[in-house]
Symmetry: C2
Subunit: 582 residues, 2 copies
């Protein structure tokens, strides 16, 4: 016998059938629409009937409310196939305020930044922050926390920890498996997680893998990749049955290269994602709507571009209620009036108008965040803790390249002071960098040297430091470096600039040291001010984006040389090295 | 912690990664292959490594056994997206002996014929009959048993009965929902079944539905249809996100019409199926390989045709292990040497060669079948039980059309005998037909008249009588009709021909009255003999296929007039009528 819960559902189904058959009046009819049919690839001039959040049908239906769209286009709401919400620097509710009006009605999020800081409680906070009346938030469980065994993060999430969230209705599977060497080598820890996610979706992250290595990487269930940079990589993955998410984020921009690989054979295995997109970039250029717009500008058939942002990710992630305009699908819709501009005029979520002219029409909810605050668990430091003793004046140095998170491993002759410590010199562009474990574990401080950052007269510190999110600080003197760090401790997370012995600028990021509680506009403005201070006060050239560059210098999965709380990590040889060349 | 079961699986995953990475020797390498990549649409000239039933990778791998395919083509094993195994007239193990060598390695079966006779035990028998080392058998739970409320079958399967098999690993969802009026009208019984199958796959059967009717039909989760006969129907369904299975069976042949609707927009939502295919047809023409061959002959791109028989149904039914040649997929493979003939030379199932030159290399298993035998639960009948009393000499008559299961409802003047019973007349082509309830329920006998069957000097009876599978008998005299029926009772199912007071031919079908326990070749030969007897002894013209025509005359969902155990059913008005026109 049906339970009363089932009976209620069955009565809803009955009503839906009657509505679709035209026997009852729908709550809303959008009339005079050009409807994008992502299944047939056609544009249908007709009316669209909606009731109780669902699309009822296309055709001549009666509506309690009838809205005339004057032959504008209506497409399914857009889906970001892979993103880290933490990169927007605001809480998910504030993010929704900005991305929903730009057409994104669903995100598939990997909360691995906050998971490194706050563990399962951090993931739960992100899930709870999404109000599905405004935005669908689906989650992939972070597979690599910490990203490597070579650094100390706030939490270590093994298979048993992840399995506590495995059956959450918003969890789709396992997030990007960055530790590809362990997968290829068949390490038990990562295989346990893959086994846990068997029959779910497992996202990949396999840059440059090919041939047998790639076969070994994907054979145990990895089915997507968003790290392709060349058409060859993309084609190889599609040929293995993987879905490829074409990424266009703030740092990594792959769309212009990869869009040429989208053709009649491959188009249904391609999706769009942002991965990491920053506040100013979203506010100026848009979110997934930008990927669609750019693809159309580069000559992609507009329907194909829309399919890549709608039905393709829906199918990849087995999301049966979204991604199309057809009876039974959620009424998540975007309205626009031409393909070239692809400017989102209105957004409907489950049948309600939630955004118009890029403005959100909804209120956001704030949820309890005590579990993800107070995450900088160290005492203030003294400048002398940042001294770097060296055995010779020949040192290993991280050389940064503007616009890339890949570094070069170079060897430079530097100056030592009388006691054998590294000494800054105004003729050499060699800055000191330190990573300070901040999760209350080891209190490690790892110290190294950086070329090409060009920082003078001060220091920058931040708690955004991929992926362990320890405090990272760069500067030309230990005093300003300590001041910048200690201001972070006081704020319990953020970005700070110190110069001449005082704080010159700051952006508080109290949520896990990663996200502001302010609006995205306010964060963007604040960041812009900080950038001006970096240029004017610290003389950093405008070609170096100081905060993002700094944030990636501690990520020991990106070649060639990185700094961790345990010291230098040589990514090419997967081993720690000392700063001095002996 | 992992259980030992999980650990075993994880160690298997580890080995698989090592094999794919080329660190270990695979058990089998097929070298010098032209491999059909259904993802990229390309043909790859390379070697194919296999181990423990799985594809390990394409490339230069080491193998314990190396088989040189001399540059023959290798494609994934073929999938029949929708079939009733009962229509092959043999048990599933015997069916596998014939269809596997023709390239079919997976069937998606709706066992609704046996379910009408033997209920859940019948479905379970079919599931248990498949040995997945030879053939994958996936099952859709029959949604409409009985097909209509207007007839008496052996079992009535409501949602609670079906739910006992819902979680069986080989069950994918709910079988073709034939009772489309109930779905459109939102009847609770059928919605309960749809609700049960929420998040599973639900197959449709919505011939000629369109517009709002079709919207109402599919809105609650119906996602496939195999009943399209026109491109317009096909396009409308694809536009609603449904998968369309292009059917090429023995009676219903839709491929030549529908293949023209396969294009770059629609091709990934198209599949192939046989629905109902008879022994002689399979033996002479093939199984799903015939659909592929025919599509290629009609100009379809060969890779597209293969996709429709492999990856497309795999995706539709969310079968993640089959339908492609890529690492991690089951090594279910077909080998052939040219696209035009598309003659299957070898078949591998989970890495083992199971067929060569159309011969099965495996032994079949027989399973216990007591639960599906002894299903003709009536005593012998007397000829006088078949007398048809009429109120006038003007009667409603079922007029058959050769080659169609649709009948016409006509009115004819006939002869009565002195006592007011229908009397056969050699000048009029009007035969008597009777349906005798055989499931031990009502013992009803429904009697009617048929034009255009041309039977003389005898009778034909069968327990294959869609969908309730009562005994149906047609003849020109009550004595032979009773003899034919009583032979069926003795055999406990089958097809019989009686003439001149004796049995002239018979085919025993002891399994539920639907399937033989003999080989398909033997059944085919036997049927051919019966057909000769029908022509020679009963003077039935060769344009009338007597057994299939008879089998569909009791199916009260096909227009216009049908005979049930309750008497005539007027399908156009959905009501019972008497034989006499008053």
């Amino acid at each position: 016998m049906s339970s009363s819960n089932n009976l209620e559902k069955i009565l809803r189904m009955k009503k839906r059938a009657e509505l679709a058959a035209g026997k009852r009046t729908c709550s809303l009819v959008l009339k005079n629409c050009k409807i994008i049919n992502v299944f047939s690839g056609k544009i249908i001039e007709s009316n669209l009937a909606i009731d109780n959040g669902k699309i009822i049908g296309i055709g001549n239906y009666e509506g309690d409310t009838v809205v005339d769209l004057n032959w504008k286009y209506v497409a399914p709401g857009l889906i970001d196939a892979h993103m880290h919400m933490e990169s927007t620097l605001v809480t998910p509710d504030q993010m929704a305020r900005i991305i929903v009006p730009r057409g994104t009605t669903t995100v598939i999020a990997d909360p691995h930044e906050i998971a490194n800081v706050s563990g399962i409680a951090g993931i739960q906070y992100m899930i709870d922050s999404i109000d599905d009346a405004q935005l669908n938030g689906f989650f992939m469980l972070p597979s690599c926390v910490p990203a490597t065994p070579f650094e100390n993060s706030g939490y270590r999430l093994d298979k048993d920890a992840l399995s506590t969230l495995q059956n959450h209705p918003m969890v789709l599977g396992l997030g990007e498996v960055m530790d590809y060497p362990s997968v290829i080598d068949g390490k038990i820890d990562i295989l346990e997680k893959l086994e846990m996610a068997d029959r779910m979706i497992v996202d990949g992250h396999g840059p440059a893998l090919s041939g047998k290595q790639l076969n070994a990487y994907m054979i145990n269930g990895i089915r997507t990749d968003h790290e392709c940079t060349t058409i060859e990589e993309m084609e190889e993955r599609i040929g293995l049955g993987m879905y490829v998410a074409i990424r266009e984020g703030t740092a990594a921009k792959n769309l212009d290269s990869l869009i040429k690989g989208v053709n009649n054979h491959t188009k249904f295995q391609c999706m769009f994602c942002t991965d990491d997109k920053h506040p100013e970039d979203i506010l100026s250029n848009g979110h997934i709507d930008y990927n669609v717009r750019r693809a159309i500008a580069l000559g992609t058939d507009p329907i194909t571009a829309i399919q890549m942002a709608t039905i393709n990710p829906a199918r990849c992630y087995n999301l049966r209620d979204i991604g199309a305009i057809a009876p039974g699908y959620d009424a998540d819709l975007i309205v626009f009036d031409n393909f070239e501009k692809f400017e989102i005029l209105e957004v409907y979520k489950k049948g309600y108008l939630v955004a118009k002219n890029k403005e959100a029409l909804f209120k956001t909810k704030k949820i309890a965040s005590e579990h993800v605050q107070g995450t900088v668990k160290i005492s203030p430091i003294r400048p002398d803790q940042l001294k770097l003793p060296l055995e010779s004046d020949v040192a290993h140095v991280i050389r940064i390249s503007p616009g890339s998170i890949v570094t070069e491993h170079v060897i430079r002759r530097i100056y030592l002071d009388a006691e054998g410590y590294f000494e800054s010199n105004r003729h050499l562009d060699i800055s000191k960098i330190a990573v300070i474990e901040r999760h209350g574990k080891t209190k490690n401080i790892g110290i190294g040297l950086v070329e090409n950052f060009h920082i003078k007269n001060g220091a920058i510190a931040t708690t955004i430091s991929h992926d362990s999110h320890n405090i990272i600080v760069i500067g030309d003197n230990d005093n300003d470096m300590a001041i910048a760090v200690n201001e972070i401790v006081r704020l319990q997370g953020g970005i700070t600039i110190a110069s001449g012995g005082e704080i010159k600028g700051l952006l508080p990021l109290p949520i896990a040291g990663l996200m502001s509680t302010e609006s995205m506009e306010s964060v963007s403005e604040n960041l812009s001010k900080l950038r001006d201070i970096a240029i004017e006060t610290l003389s950093i050239p405008s070609t170096v984006e100081p905060f993002m560059t700094l944030s990636f210098l501690a990520l020991p999965v990106i070649p060639e040389l990185k700094i961790t709380d345990n010291g230098y990590f040589d990514v090419s040889n997967f081993s720690f090295i000392s700063v001095s060349e002996k």
